[in-house]
């Protein structure tokens, strides 16, 4: 599973790290221990542990920039806005995909307001040969 922890700090596998006393995961003391523990949790797929360790580590070491970034990046999602205007072009693109995409199997396609702008074998080829208006749908046809 895990390929191990980067850096010199040795941390037990997260499977053996259980909440103690006040609910914190530990026992970790230094910022380096927290950073190593977050990395190990990510490598083991213990994503909730990674979030909690990053948050707790940053709380205890607010001056550490790496823990600050880890805590921000691993935090729960945050709603920014819920009032974006409707985009009727989505329905037109969906109709094109349903009716015409099968002719482009294995290709990347660019579709805008229900019209094919171009197709190519790779995404990079596609974006080099056409201008993409904002709202262009890029997708690979399987």
């Amino acid at each position: 599973m895990s390929k191990g922890v980067k850096g010199a700090v040795k941390v037990p596998p997260t499977g053996r790290i259980r909440p103690i006393g006040n609910g914190s995961i530990g026992p970790f003391r230094t910022d380096a221990e927290y950073i190593a523990a977050v990395r190990q949790a990510l490598a083991e797929g213990a994503h909730l542990d990674a979030r909690q360790l990053a948050s707790e580590g940053y709380e205890k070491h607010p001056g550490n920039d790496e823990l600050r970034r880890m805590a921000k990046v691993l935090a729960p999602p945050r709603i920014i806005s819920t009032n974006l205007p409707a985009n009727p072009g989505i329905a037109l693109n969906a109709r094109w995909l349903k009716e015409s995409a099968s002719e482009y199997k294995g290709q990347w396609v660019a579709v805008y307001n229900g019209e094919l702008l171009g197709s190519a074998a790779t995404l990079s080829d596609l974006t080099q040969k056409i201008q993409l208006p904002k709202g262009t749908l890029l997708t690979k046809v399987f």
Binding site: M1, S2, L48, A75, L84, I90, L132, L137
Partner: protein
């Protein structure tokens, strides 16, 4: 739109969804919707058993990801394998065909590819750190995806 028993709104927008395999090797249909990342609209698969927005590295190259909002290269356990890549905090929009769209700040994982290696999956919307603050409901026969903020 859909309402809760007390008459308040369950969701604020709806859009088309597709049920189809998302790679030639897939034997099962997945649920896909159109989302906006940066200035690009892409198809993304819903994976409630997954973590993060797994962003196709080819798409990631086309948008400006803010280096201030990244954690360095990490090994992440993704879809059963250890994958090297970079975690970012980025805005994701779920645009609507009817009603209002939603913008949400999520955690994106961009896999690091070897030279000449290609990413064989679409962009994937996982639950942890991505969809976990979004209410949604699916009408499979009419291919509608209803969504809204869970923070209401």
């Amino acid at each position: 739109m859909l309402l809760l028993p007390d008459g308040s709104e369950f969701c604020i927008g709806s859009t088309t969804c597709f049920s189809k395999p998302f790679s030639p090797r897939e034997r099962l249909n997945k649920l896909l919707i159109q989302v906006t990342i940066g200035d690009l609209d892409v198809e993304a698969a819903i994976d409630t058993g997954g973590a993060y927005l797994i962003l196709d590295p080819g798409i990631a190259r086309l948008i400006n990801l803010d280096s201030a909002d990244l954690v360095g290269t990490e090994e992440i356990h993704v879809r059963g394998t250890i994958t090297q890549g970079i975690l970012y905090r980025i805005p994701l929009q779920i645009p609507s065909e009817e009603g209002m769209g939603t913008s949400i700040e999520v955690t994106a994982f961009v896999p690091t590819l070897l030279p000449n290696e290609s990413w064989g999956l679409p962009t994937v919307l996982g639950w942890h750190c991505c969809l976990e603050r979004i209410r949604f409901a699916v009408d499979p026969l009419n291919e509608r995806f209803y969504f809204g903020s869970a923070d209401n």
